[in-house]
């Protein structure tokens, strides 16, 4: 069975700063992977490179066997994909941002409906039906006609998750989804993500929520200075960290 995500030798630099120094990572179907690491370690950049929000300097990301940002030619070579192909590829990858990024000019339903209508070209009735279902799943049916700026951070993030879910992505990427939230709002978002994990979605999360990673993730990965320092099944990762860098990171995080 093809890996849901296959990242091969991924490099990325900003100017002279090399942020990713050759990342290799395979994620199986239905696997939940948490990426941990200090700020600036390259977690977000790795996620952003997966759906080409940042284009990698070198290396390729495959989603269910298809190279993202490339178009395979008949002779097996890869050609840089045009905007239309890239857009179609991105629609298969769900992305949840730290800052939610809901569109302020659309209501909750409007935010969820938008991509179904524009990208999937659904008719209004079908799109709204799906949107309402997803909004109900994240527990915000009563808020469906509100504008994002009237919602709390936790509610906005749940709408953002509903918006992503509605597209039925093959892989879901979460870029520090709870880092911008008030502490008492973190729980409601974690709850939603746990449900998604239980339903068997393939998820990659950059997070600082150690408890979530330990309880929910199948595998945890520690990234520091642009390389994968250590990876292990979640329990083992937290209970028996091997490298000194991970040990001191976990110690600092749990203080």
């Amino acid at each position: 069975m093809t890996a849901a995500v296959n990242i091969k030798n991924l490099h990325k630099s900003f100017g002279n700063l090399e942020v990713l120094k050759g990342i290799d990572l395979e994620v199986a179907q239905g696997e939940v992977v948490c990426i941990l690491g200090p700020s600036g370690s390259g977690k977000s950049t790795l996620l952003r490179c997966i759906n080409q929000l940042n284009s990698p300097a070198q290396g390729t990301v495959y989603i269910n066997g298809d190279p993202i940002g490339f178009e395979p030619l008949e002779n097996g070579d890869l050609k840089k994909a045009n905007q239309t192909i890239l857009a179609r590829q991105r629609s298969r990858i769900g992305y949840v941002f730290q800052q939610f990024n809901l569109w302020p000019h659309r209501t909750v339903v409007g935010n969820v409906v938008e991509a179904l209508r524009i990208v999937k070209k659904m008719n209004k009735a079908n799109a709204e039906k799906i949107a309402i279902e997803r909004i109900t799943e994240v527990g915000l049916l009563d808020w469906k006609d509100e504008y994002p700026d009237t919602l709390s951070g936790g509610q906005q993030q749940r709408v953002a998750i509903a918006r992503m879910l509605a597209m039925e992505p093959e892989v879901m990427l979460f870029d520090e989804p709870t880092s911008a939230l008030d502490p008492e709002r973190v729980g409601e978002v974690i709850e939603v993500m746990k449900e998604l994990a239980e339903k068997g979605h393939t998820m990659i999360l950059a997070t600082h929520e150690l408890n979530f990673a330990r309880d929910t993730a199948d595998r945890a990965i520690f990234i520091d200075e642009g390389v994968i320092v250590e990876q292990a099944p979640a329990q083992e990762f937290f209970n028996a960290p091997k490298s000194e860098r991970l040990r001191s990171f976990l110690k600092r995080m749990s203080m």
Binding site: L53, T84, Y95, F97, N101, R106, I118, A160
Partner: protein, 247 residues
Amino acid sequence: MEFEFRFDIVWNNFPLLLEGIQTTILLSLLTMALGTVIGLFVAIVRLRARKIFALPLIIYVEVFRGTPGLIQIVWIYYCLPILTGLQLDALTSLVIAMALNVGSYLSEVFRAGIQGVDKGHIEAAAALGFKPGQITRRVVVPQAAYRMIPAIGNVFVSAIKLSSLCSVLGMAELMYQGQIIIANFFRPIEVFTVVAVIYLIMAYTTSLFMMYLEYKLAWVNREKVPFWQRFKQISQSAFQIKPQGGL
């Protein structure tokens, strides 16, 4: 000796002013329309194209913002034919001159408006599979347009007043017609007062129209208030820290 206001002279010659009003409205509308096209073009090229293409446009904007409108109008009217051999009629050359002036201001308004859209909103659309054109239409334009309206209104109101400079070149617009009446009856105070009130009415009508546009485009019109009530809110919001509705 007591001064006696003779507004009757103005009323008696009002048909002259009416003709002027028509020409002023024509000049202003053409200037706004062409200026908007120029402004949009300049803003988009400056945002999207390579620096080499942007540089001449930056120079254009700075020159037209940094020199008096009167000189621009006179220069294009007299000098352009000399330099290029291109003989344009008065209306065309005046509209071009004013549109270049208005366009330089508008390009900065548009540029700021487009740049002001949160990059995250654009990335969210890209991540969901929107193509660049779809992002522009569905995410950037609705947000930018709404926020730019008050600034566009400012430039449009200036455009109306700018058109008064065309009187210098004999274009029979409102100011020119007023000056004709003054030359005949030596009554500058009365004539200028009435002319000023007419300009004010045209400017305020423009403001009201922009306010209505803002009201129509406001996505956060949750209360579904009628326009006159919303108008009251906008008029009062100058004294509030956070404007009501809007963003």
